[in-house]
C-alpha cells in the first residue's frame, strides 16, 4: 500500500481554492496552506494503514470568504475521508485575524486503509 493522503486531500479540495505548501504562499486570496505528517501503521502482516496529522490553514483578506472557504473544505474533507477505505478524526479549530488577514486553522488526523488513486476524468465522446 502506498501513502496517498496528500494526493487525496489536494484532489478533494481542488475546486474550492488553491491548496499550497507553506513555501508557495501568495497574496492572491483565498488560498489554503496544508501540511501532512503521515506515518505507516503496521500489523504483523505489513502496513495496513497510513495515519496523517494534517493542518489546513485557510487564508483570506475577507472574513466571509475565509469562513465560506473553510466550511467548504471542512465539508469536502469530511465527506471524502469517510468512505469506508479512509476515515478521519477532527482536531483543533481556530480563527485569527492579523492586520486584516483572516486565518482559519483546521486540524485532522486522516486515515487511509486502502490504496487510492486520482479518478480518471471521463471525456464525453458522444457526438449525437
Amino acid at each position: 500500500m502506498t501513502d496517498s493522503l496528500r494526493a487525496k486531500l489536494v484532489y478533494t479540495c481542488r475546486e474550492i481554492c488553491p491548496m499550497v505548501l507553506s513555501e508557495d504562499e501568495t497574496k492572491v486570496y483565498p488560498y489554503a496552506v496544508y501540511d501532512i505528517t503521515s506515518t505507516a501503521q503496521m500489523d504483523k502482516d505489513g502496513v495496513y494503514a497510513f495515519f496523517g496529522e494534517t493542518v489546513i490553514r485557510v487564508v483570506s483578506n475577507v472574513k466571509s470568504e475565509a469562513d465560506s472557504t473553510a466550511a467548504a473544505i471542512q465539508s469536502a474533507v469530511e465527506s471524502a475521508f469517510r468512505d469506508g477505505s479512509s476515515n478521519f478524526v477532527p482536531g483543533d479549530f481556530s480563527k485569527d485575524c492579523q492586520e486584516g488577514i483572516w486565518t482559519i486553522e483546521m486540524n485532522y488526523t486522516l486515515k487511509q486503509y486502502a490504496d487510492w488513486s486520482e479518478p480518471v476524468e471521463q471525456t464525453n465522446t458522444n457526438t449525437d
Binding site: 501503521q41 503496521m42 500489523d43 504483523k44 502482516d45 505489513g46 495496513y48 488526523t109
Partner: protein
C-alpha cells in the same frame, strides 16, 4: 535476529487476523521446602511449567479468513465449554524451533474508543504439555 512479524502463534493452523503482538510466558511451577539443615535458606525445585500466551490484534471484519482467524471465530471459541473449548496451538519463530500444545482461551477483551482502531486481546493457557515439534 528475528523480526517480530516472523513470530507467529497459530490457533488450529490459523494466525489471528490483524495480529500486532504475541507474548509467550513460561512460568515454572515450583515446590518450596525448608529443613533445619538449610539454615534459613529455602530450597526450590521445578515440578512443571505453566505456559500462556497473550495475543493482540486489530479488529478487522473484512479480511481474509481462509488463512487467519477473525474476531467472530475467536469470540465463538471463547464461548465454548469443555472439550469444544480446546484447540491446537503452534508457535513458530522464523527458522527457530516450533512448539505445539493444546490451548484454551482464558480471557477475551475488545477495546474500542472513539478515535482509534478497535483492538482485541486474547489470553491463552496451554493445558497439558507444550512440546517442541520434531522437524
Amino acid at each position: 535476529m528475528v523480526q517480530g512479524y516472523n513470530v507467529a502463534l497459530k490457533i488450529n493452523d490459523l494466525t489471528i487476523l490483524g495480529r500486532t503482538q504475541d507474548d509467550l510466558t513460561i512460568a515454572a511451577n515450583i515446590k518450596e521446602s525448608q529443613t533445619k539443615d538449610d539454615a534459613g535458606s529455602k530450597q526450590y525445585s521445578v515440578v512443571g511449567q505453566e505456559v500462556s500466551f497473550k495475543c493482540s490484534a486489530l479488529i478487522d471484519v473484512s479480511g481474509d479468513t481462509a488463512s487467519a482467524m477473525d474476531r467472530d471465530s475467536l469470540i465463538a471459541l471463547a464461548l465454548e465449554v469443555g472439550e469444544d473449548a480446546e484447540f491446537d496451538v503452534t508457535y513458530e519463530a522464523d527458522d527457530g524451533d516450533a512448539y505445539e500444545g493444546t490451548g484454551i482461551i482464558t480471557n477475551y477483551t475488545e477495546s474500542s474508543n472513539a478515535s482509534d482502531d478497535a483492538t482485541l486481546s486474547v489470553d491463552i493457557k496451554i493445558t497439558g504439555d507444550f512440546t517442541k515439534v520434531n522437524a
